[in-house]
């Protein structure tokens, strides 16, 4: 096994969660990279939908924006943005909503709006985008982001997109159709909601990562599942496909397409 970065581990681990044939509503950046890696490896028939309108996109290089021409050219069809949200997402046709986040809390709620007070913000983030309704209506949600004290916080200043709300069956009480986040994939580990409480606990540590590292990089008292797995290392196929994808992207754009 060749050496790999924690970023690569994160992307590979996230890509593995996407079942072949699943219909996936893809956020730009890390989710898009992981979803396309899945499509190029284990899940060739995954269906990628971007909020800008492409359905069944099969980009050769990663898009830098949510509406790159590459997505339109490789899609089965391109529909108006409103239709994406109305017929395809709210219509109940999305199996997996694949989201990034600026911050998450222990119940998988997401903040992409503001840090500090809404009216006197410490940091103003981009805002909601498509996430609140993806988080609400996709049959399940995967979240991918780099783990740190600043991103995994005890209390969000602002809940932009709901995960399991206040935990337990709060989500059901809210009447949300989808079952919410089923995994958070980071550069350190995989977290999944604990049965009953729906609090995210670590279920798999990436190779070489210690519990201490995870604890240090989590803003709440993170817990570990009794049966804690170790994530399988990226294999040659996965790494090869990921690096080739990034190389093609860099050649086309001069960027790897994983920002934002």
């Amino acid at each position: 096994m060749s050496a790999y970065t924690t970023s690569e581990m994160m992307t590979v681990a996230a890509a593995r969660r996407l079942q072949n044939g699943a219909v996936c509503f893809v956020g730009i950046g890390l989710p898009s990279k992981a979803a396309n890696l899945a499509r190029l490896t284990s899940s060739p028939d995954v269906v990628l939908i971007y909020e800008s309108g492409p359905i069944g996109a099969k980009p050769e290089v990663l898009p830098l924006s949510i509406g790159d021409g590459e997505l339109a050219e490789t899609a089965d069809t391109v529909v108006p943005t409103a239709e994406i949200f109305r017929y395809w997402l709210q219509g109940g046709r999305i199996d997996v909503g694949f989201l990034g986040a600026a911050q998450v809390d222990k119940f998988g709620n997401i903040n992409t709006t503001v840090i500090g007070d809404y009216h006197q913000p410490k940091v103003r983030l981009p805002g909601a985008g498509g996430a609140p309704e993806i988080a609400g209506s996709a049959k399940e949600v995967l979240i991918i982001l780099k783990q740190s004290h600043r991103t995994f916080v005890d209390k969000l200043a602002f809940i932009t997109s709901v995960g399991h709300g206040e935990g337990g069956d709060h989500r059901r009480q809210l009447g949300l159709p989808g079952k919410g986040p089923v995994a958070i994939i980071t550069d350190l580990c995989i977290m999944e909601p604990e049965a009953g409480s729906n609090e995210f606990v670590v279920t798999s540590l990436h190779p070489g990562i210690t519990r201490e590292q995870v604890v240090e990089n989590t803003g709440w008292a993170i817990r570990f599942a009794d049966r804690l797995a170790v994530t399988a290392e990226p294999n040659e196929t996965e790494l090869g496909a990921l690096r080739a994808l990034e190389a093609r992207t860099a050649a086309a754009h001069g960027q790897k397409g994983d920002d934002q």
Partner: protein, 287 residues
Amino acid sequence: MADLLSLSEAVQRFVNDGDTVALEGFTHLIPTAAGHELIRQGKRDLTLVRMTPDLVYDLLIGAGCAKKLIFSWGGNPGVGSLHRLRDAVERGWPQPLEIEEHSHADLANAYVAGASGLPFAVLRAYAGSDLPKVNPLLRSVTCPFTGEVLAAVPSVRPDVTVIHAQKADRKGNVLLWGILGVQKEAALAARRCIVTVEEIVDDLAAPMNACVLPSWAIRAVCEVPGGAHPSYAHGYYERDNRFYQAWDPIARERETFVAWVDDYIRGTRDYAEFQQKLAQANAAEAR
């Protein structure tokens, strides 16, 4: 019937200070040239509506054209923050900016409702989100059949919508294709619509079910090739990713921003002259 006008004349005729204006285009076909012209003409107190404010609204806000922003995602896609938007929200420069914040699904539905002549849109949204706490316009409505409580949001009815499209014919019928975003809905939701196009042709040669805006549904068509830069026009030119990155240092500080606007926008007569100037600067940098 739409008039074929210069962009300058169209903006003069159809955009008033204080108007609610939507410049739409979802990463594709962003009407940048029209944004520049609003600045050149010194339009003031605009309420700007746009799902993704993007560079075009960072410009308008920084240049002092806007008093309010209605939006659902405000960033420089793939790069980072919109510094002028943040400066206006966080420090009131060059003037305070009121913001009204939605989600994409909400605003997309609000444009659909606007195009449909309805006062509000119904969608399944916002349960568990804090957005309704900061936006009192996110309300609810109860289904008279099932009792389900759904989100109700006001429709968007801009005074003026501006979009950019690939082609128009000489009668002013407009064709766009590729990523369509919410342009058709934004155009039809507006009282007045201006369309800038890459080119005016004899025959649109549109597929039977293509996205065509008939001439009589819009007010003005303006030929502005390259008018969607730094976004792209499918079939004409690609996204200028370098410019999105270059924008970050320009917009980061007030001084560099003002200098850029004075030089490139207020200092040029029209978009063609702007393009020339930008090309010269790029060529100089490449040397």
